[in-house]
């Protein structure tokens, strides 16, 4: 019988959705970037991302599947017009153990004509420490090739102060647990304020995930957080839906593949 892992890794096994990250400005909101979110093989239990990555971690195949996810995401992102900034999720264990991951990322980006300066690697981690030296080396390498670093799920699990110190992230992504209901909860606001101040002192920015209500958005904005993501703006959706939504801008519906700068028409 075919192993589920084979089903994940076969062509078309992974589906890419995109969720907009919005920037709040005085003159209004604008699209800041897109998070690439992976769904598992259709019609299987792994179609749900939570179950997919739980399974992958239990199989200890994070590196293999992270590579497949990055490849699927950047191949799909190639069709996005307007060079939006892209966030892709990678396990910390992959960065710590897969010594060729940076080369792989560079190659996939190159093949798909995506500049690494348009890419943020969002670090996810669910396990206790790995090879710390290799992990820190990989982070340094990512920065050297122009990739920005995000830390996912700040405030939960392994995304703790030590991880913040180790990663010195450009983006502090706050889990939806803290945003949901923050308008009426001064304690949640205190946590959001604290992380915002911490990010500022690290020279980073906060992205509040799970923003679903206008009153929560107002509270988040009052704290000074200006990058937000959530159902209030858009759900994660396939490329076609995103293009139809007009969120990429009125002139961005064509979905024409991007071409490398060097080959772009004058």
């Amino acid at each position: 019988m075919k192993d589920l892992l084979d089903t994940i890794l076969e062509p078309g096994g992974l589906t890419v959705h995109f969720q907009p990250i919005m920037e709040l400005r005085e003159e209004g909101r604008r699209l800041y970037g897109l998070e690439c979110l992976i769904r598992g093989p259709k019609g299987t239990n792994l179609e749900s991302a939570d179950v997919l990555f739980d399974y992958v971690r239990r199989k200890r195949e994070e590196s293999l599947v992270d590579r497949a996810c990055v490849k699927a995401a950047l191949e799909r992102a190639r069709e996005l017009p307007g060079r939006p900034h892209l966030s892709i999720n990678v396990h910390a264990s992959t960065l710590g153990r897969d010594h060729e991951f940076l080369v792989f990322l560079g190659d996939v980006a190159d093949v798909n004509a995506i500049s690494l300066s348009d890419v943020t690697v969002e670090i996810v981690e669910h396990a206790p420490p790995w090879d710390g030296r290799s992990f820190l080396g990989a982070l340094e390498g990512l920065r050297r090739i122009g990739v920005r670093i995000g830390l996912d799920d700040v405030g939960l699990g392994q995304s703790n102060y030590r991880m913040i110190l180790d990663c010195r992230p450009d983006y502090f992504k706050i889990d939806r647990y803290f945003a949901l209901g923050c308008a009426k909860d001064p304690y949640r606001q205190a946590v959001l304020q604290s992380i915002h101040e911490l990010a500022r002192r690290f020279g980073g920015r906060v992205v509040a995930e799970g923003v679903e209500h206008t009153e929560d958005l107002a509270a988040i904005q009052a704290i000074g957080i200006d990058l937000v993501q959530g159902y209030l703006f858009a759900r994660a959706a396939p490329l076609e839906t995103l293009l139809e939504s007009g969120l990429l801008g009125p002139d961005r519906k064509s979905g024409a593949p991007r071409v490398p700068d060097a080959e772009a028409p004058a």
């Binding site: 019988m1 589920l4 239990n45 792994l46 179950v51 739980d54 399974y55 239990r58």
Partner: protein, 129 residues
């Protein structure tokens, strides 16, 4: 449609025909049935879905032949309200004793006709057929 909340069942076996038969049978009895073929797949599902009952083969794809015991341990530690049955064609007295020590709700010898399994399930869930 009655509007009653369906009870959720997870069936784990590495043989697809067994899963197919179990799904058909228990869905006809009004259960919402998920199926899994691997230990890790079942554990991942159990981490994100609340099941009323789990029916697992003792031997799944793996090197030990007693992967079902790991599932019993997982269920008892993470989902104490969930009932769990193990089925096996190879179980020794020692394995059965270990399963009971871990907290399995029933240890059944294969082959076991589905109506017999259903009677045990109904008994555990306190419902009638």
């Amino acid at each position: 449609m009655s509007g009653a909340v369906l009870q959720r069942m997870l069936v784990i076996d590495d043989e697809e025909p067994i899963l197919f038969a179990a799904r058909e049978y228990f869905e006809a009895l009004g259960f919402s049935v998920d199926c899994a073929t691997e230990l890790e797949e079942a554990q991942a599902l159990l981490s994100h879905v609340q099941y009323d009952i789990v029916i697992a083969d003792l031997r799944l794809t793996g090197i030990y032949g007693t992967e079902g015991l790991a599932l019993v341990r997982h269920v008892r530690e993470r989902c104490p309200q969930t009932r769990i049955l193990l089925l096996t064609a190879y179980g020794s007295a020692a394995v059965e004793e270990e399963a009971r020590r871990l907290g399995v709700d029933g240890f059944l010898q294969k082959p076991k006709p589905l109506p017999d399994v259903a009677q045990i399930v109904f008994g555990l869930l306190g419902k009638t057929a």
